[in-house]
């Protein structure tokens, strides 16, 4: 018999609290590794150096200051949208750790969501430190985003994380059929890299490429939230609608593959 809604909400809140706190404690055990991961995400700074050196922005309507703010915001967005669920799920599947989790009355996905969110909290101080260092080295680029930009930027970053997680978790379902499904994610990393806005703001891309990019889910994972945070003009409504549309596409595919995958699951390693 189903429990009343309020009881279920309280139960969900308790699960979320203990999952997040235990995962945070777990992540703190690996803080050194997380610092290295945070440091390894400085690609936007490298790209900033490259584009600034050839003054690419100037010719295409972006000042060096705008470029610097965009890449700093892209760095921050990237730090909070990193998703690795496929690699963990693949390992859990191969080593048999998945089985005990599948036997508990909690959808497996929430464990991975909690792990990602806890990792982001662990990462936060190092990101703040790196942002501070950036402003120390490039004080002219300092800016306070307006409250609305900040809130919308945070919301867009959260939505970008949710979309990226959903997309990768959908691909992760291939693990039920293939032992090395993470190769797919490596393949997808290339379009993600070029179409998300990590290597350059999409504003600098040729018109045709830019139009094509916005028909994919990638620009909403970095470019859009980064531009909002950097104070650029972004069509909020269509951007959030596009994210919702992509999520609405991936979610049923994910659920279908999950159900089919469970039928195919062989509980290897257990």
């Amino acid at each position: 018999m189903r429990r009343p809604l309020l009881q279920r909400l309280a139960h969900g809140r308790r699960i979320a609290a203990v999952l997040l706190s235990s995962q945070y404690a777990y992540m703190l055990e690996y803080r050194a590794e997380i610092v290295l991961w945070a440091l390894s995400g400085v690609l936007p700074f490298i790209m900033l150096g490259l584009w600034s050196a050839i003054d690419a922005g100037g010719g295409l309507g972006m000042s060096s200051l705008q470029l610097a703010r965009y890449f700093l915001a892209a760095f921050v967005v990237r730090q909070f949208t990193i998703v690795w669920v496929m690699y963990t799920f693949e390992e859990d599947n191969l080593t048999g750790r998945l089985s005990p989790y599948l036997l508990q009355p909690l959808p497996l996905v929430w464990r991975y969501v909690a792990a990602h969110l806890s990792e982001q909290v662990t990462r936060l101080p190092f990101v703040v430190l790196l942002v501070g260092l950036f402003f120390l080295l490039y004080p002219a680029a300092f800016w306070w985003p307006s409250l609305s930009s900040l809130l919308l930027g945070m919301l867009a970053t959260l939505a970008a994380f949710a979309l990226r997680f959903l997309m990768q978790f959908t691909l992760t379902m291939v693990c039920f059929w293939s032992e090395k499904a993470s190769a797919l994610e490596r393949l997808l990393y290339l379009p993600y890299l070029y179409l998300s806005g990590l290597v350059a703001p999409l504003a600098l891309y040729p018109e045709g490429v830019r139009t094509f990019a916005f028909w994919t889910p990638f620009p909403y994972m970095v470019d859009v939230p980064a531009r909002i945070l950097a104070g650029e003009t972004v069509p909020f409504g269509p951007s959030f609608a596009a994210m919702a549309a992509w999520a609405a596409l991936f979610l049923p595919i994910n659920l279908l593959l999950w159900r089919r995958g469970l039928r195919h699951y062989s509980a290897m390693g257990a």
């Binding site: 699960i15 235990s22 005990p100 009355p105 039928r263 257990a270």
Partner: protein
Amino acid sequence: MAIVCAQGLGKTYRVADKQPGLAGTLRHFVNRRERAIEAVRDVSFSIEPGEFVGFLGANGAGKTTTLKMLTGLIHPTSGTVEVAGCQPQRRQADFLGQITLVMGQKQQLIWDLPPLDSLRVNAAVYGIPPEESRRRIAELAEMLELGDELRRPVRKLSLGQRMKAELLAALLHRPAVLFLDEPTLGLDVNAQARVRSFLADYNRRFGATVLLTSHYMADITALCPRVLLIHEGRLFYDGGLETLTQRLAPCREVRLELHAPMGADAFASYGEVESIEGREVRLLIPRERLTEQVGRLLADHAVVDLSISDPPIEDIIGRLFHQGALA
């Protein structure tokens, strides 16, 4: 009414069929072949609430596959299963709250944190109120003789302590049906005995139904009045342990350490000589003649050490199957 009921249960896996070597690898790459393996075939049995049943079979006999089907981890290819009134493969929350599966050497505890952290998560997941979960942890910890270990990171615990903590985590929600797959695997004799006594105590105290697989005959003899024997995916025996022991292991293994090496001929009259390596002799002696023959051995030879045990269950099953007793 049975709490576990399997009818005509079968599971067929498709596995890649690859020849060794470079040629085999290339052929496999171009023309991938698969073959079907029937891991479990037409298995039927039922278990009443509160029963403690041993599930025996050699490696690859189909024990773990059957347990996975009973818990809903994998879907049967044929037949039906019902556990606690539910179809396991539907994985409904009501069903998951009534069962547990413990796999020796596999863990659900978070490796880098103390077991108490994982127990907090389990308590929340199963909806056990905090006060009640503290009471249950204390009760189970006492039964398992666990104390400070629950506050130490799992990676710092010995195998025996870890297994006991795993049991605690698996039983916190007080499941009505326990599926235990080699819970004493790799533990030393003392730890095995403690886990065994805990399981017996748990079964008595909470009236839980237990299906236990183990390679250690001692686990089965200490805990299971009834056993199921599976061989090559088929159920060969379902009944009392005593009948099975008499049928499958009419002999006990006697190991001797002699003062000086001797030939096999010198021991032929005591029983079946299994092996002789230097000063060490292994004999199989029928149970009914054990006392008499051991007395003779001690009187006739210079014996430095002597031990008596049941032969490994795999040896017993293997030998009997080889002799056609199971066919």
